[in-house]
């Protein structure tokens, strides 16, 4: 079942084309990531899904509903955590949750959300006095208080310390386990890689690629590298002649083997047959950073923080 469908979305502000042509579908229960450079059109796409913008052309369907025409129904079922939005300084945590829950037809028990988000002890704290991580958790709680089927989380962990980011990630996984479909917008590659079932890379207002994190990484580069030290001298040809190997570099007892396919098992097998032990064996993993660079031709806006 499709939770979210965006087809040929186009949106311009005057002469500036914010979103040129974006299409993707998100299945129910999925965590779907959107990554892309700053100004790529991520935020406009998300705002259009949330019904804050009216697309110039193209169509959006949230659980089969149109965010503009079926405004009221979409707002009942879609939870939104927006980048750069906050709450009045003097409002207390419990008040904010009770307040927001009063907007919805069928809200969840906000006391349980407090518990789930670890905010119970802060229930009587004013918004202003919360830490960055606590504010973020409150913002997530308020996105979930209406018992949404789909939640949009925009720049979830910006400004959080590494521990708070990891806590937030496990929280999101728990939320998904309750059956909520999640659209995750982020510029953190590690976050997208860790949480997303599938990822859309948006660049220049268009979808450059949609795939699983592993699929994107594999697409970006088929080559991988294995490093190790040998226990005794070994002829270069033992590894260089393996079908998966493209290059071998030897510096003293240190070997660096480049290749493709099942490189690690080929190398390990050849070493075992030669009765040589590979010490400190390491496989250089390609990650989403590399995939991002390969797909968009530029570095992610900010380096991995975690």
């Amino acid at each position: 079942m499709t939770a979210l469908e965006v087809r040929n979305l186009h949106k311009r502000y005057g002469p500036h084309v914010a979103v040129d042509d974006v299409s993707f579908t998100v299945a129910e229960g999925e965590i779907f990531g959107i990554i892309g450079p700053n100004g790529a059109g991520k935020t406009t796409t998300v705002e259009s899904i949330a019904g804050l913008r009216t697309p110039d052309s193209g169509s959006i369907s949230v659980l089969g509903l149109d965010p503009v025409k079926d405004r009221a129904e979409v707002r009942e079922r879609l939870g939104v955590q927006l980048q750069e939005s906050s709450f009045p300084d003097a409002i207390k945590v419990a008040e904010a949750l009770e307040f927001y829950s009063s907007f919805y037809r069928d809200p969840v028990d906000w006391r349980e959300l407090l518990e789930l988000l670890g905010l119970t002890e802060r229930r009587n704290t004013r918004y202003k006095a919360l830490s960055g991580g606590q504010k973020q958790r409150l913002s997530i709680a308020l996105a979930l208080v209406g018992n949404p089927k789909v939640a949009i989380l925009d720049e979830l962990t910006t400004g959080l310390d590494p521990q708070a980011r990891r806590d937030t990630w496990s929280l999101i996984e728990r939320v998904r386990d309750t059956g909520v479909t999640i659209l995750l917008v982020t510029h953190f590659m590690d976050e997208a890689e860790r949480l997303s079932d599938r990822i859309a890379v948006i660049d220049g207002g268009r979808v450059a690629a949609v795939d699983t994190p592993a699929g994107l990484i594999a697409r970006a580069s088929a080559t991988r590298q294995v490093r190790f030290r040998v226990s005794q001298p070994l002829a270069r040809s033992v590894l260089a002649e393996l079908p998966d190997v493209t290059d071998v570099e030897i510096t003293g007892d240190r070997w660096l083997v480049t290749g493709r396919g099942q490189l690690l098992s080929s190398v390990a097998g050849a070493l075992a047959r030669a009765q040589v032990v590979g010490h400190d064996l390491r496989v250089d993993q390609r990650n989403l950073d590399d995939a991002f660079v390969a797909i968009t031709g530029r570095a992610p806006a900010e380096r991995r923080a975690g």
């Binding site: 949330a50 019904g51 804050l52 009221a72 707002r75 009942e76 879609l78 939104v80 927006l82 750069e84 939005s85 906050s86 709450f87 009045p88 003097a90 409002i91 008040e95 009770e98 307040f99 927001y100 009063s102 907007f103 919805y104 037809r105 004013r126 209406g146």
Partner: protein, 254 residues
């Protein structure tokens, strides 16, 4: 609109936690009048004003102070902050329309001014022996309509101010201008006729409030060429309608 009662409740709590506004908007008018009432010269009946004391004639200005403070300083600053910090935008993504938060703001602003006025009128009567409004119905009408006109001006400021800082600056300018005609710097009774007559077009309409409170004081502050009571109220109603329409037209949610 089902969220409105809850919004009024929350906005009331937030208002009460804003101690500066509670002190200046709600408590200060009464304090100001009591303070001036303690000055002996202002409490002496004067033959120039038909035997009225200065404090009797000046009392409505203290009331105007609280009304202006809340309508053009407090409300626009809160709404501009809500816009600046994405609070209105966030509300737009929920089933509650952010319009209800504006409505809740205005309801709370109105209620707080009613409390401010009631407190001041009671203390003026109990402590300074200033009689409560002689024509209560006219007084309530002049008060409500005059406040609506003020709030209309405040909402224009709230509509266009891009930041809370800008709203504060506009609010301060408006405050000074409105309080000049409200008699805070120069009591209306000593203003030249032309300023008094212009003042009949300036919210919240001090002359109408004064006349409804005390006919004698109203005669002292009126001019020969000024409008009667009901046309003054009609002018305020017109300002309220026009200003609200402009504010609604210009209002930006983000």
């Amino acid at each position: 609109m089902r969220a409105l009662p809850k919004m009024v409740e929350v906005e009331t709590k937030l208002f009460l936690r804003d101690s500066a506004t509670v002190v200046f908007g709600v408590l200060f008018p009464a304090g100001l009048l009591l303070g001036l009432g303690a000055v002996p010269a202002l409490g002496e009946p004067s033959p120039d004003t038909g035997g009225l004391r200065s404090i009797d004639i000046w009392a409505p200005t203290a009331l105007v102070f609280g009304m202006v403070m809340i309508a053009v300083q407090h409300v626009p600053a809160v709404i501009a902050t809500y816009r600046e910090r994405g609070i209105l935008r966030r509300l737009s993504t929920t089933p509650a329309h952010p319009r209800s938060v504006l409505l809740a703001q205005m309801i709370v602003a109105f209620a707080s001014v009613v409390v401010s006025a009631a407190l001041m009128i009671f203390l003026a009567w109990a402590v300074l022996d200033i009689a409560p409004p002689e024509r209560p119905l006219e007084f309530v009408v002049a008060f409500v309509v005059g406040y609506a006109a003020l709030l209309g001006l405040g909402m224009i400021s709230a509509a266009v101010a891009p930041t809370s800082g800008a709203a504060n600056q506009i609010g301060t300018l408006l405050f000074v201008a409105l309080m000049f005609f409200g008699g805070a710097f120069l009591p209306r009774v000593v203003m030249p006729d032309v300023l008094r007559e212009v003042g009949e077009f300036i919210p919240p309409g001090l002359q109408a409030l004064t006349a409804a409170w005390s006919a004698e004081a109203g005669e002292v502050t009126a001019t020969a060429g000024g409008q009667p009571f009901w046309p003054q109220v009609a002018i305020m109603a017109g300002i309220a309608v026009i200003a609200s329409a402009i504010a609604a037209k210009l209002f930006r949610w983000e």
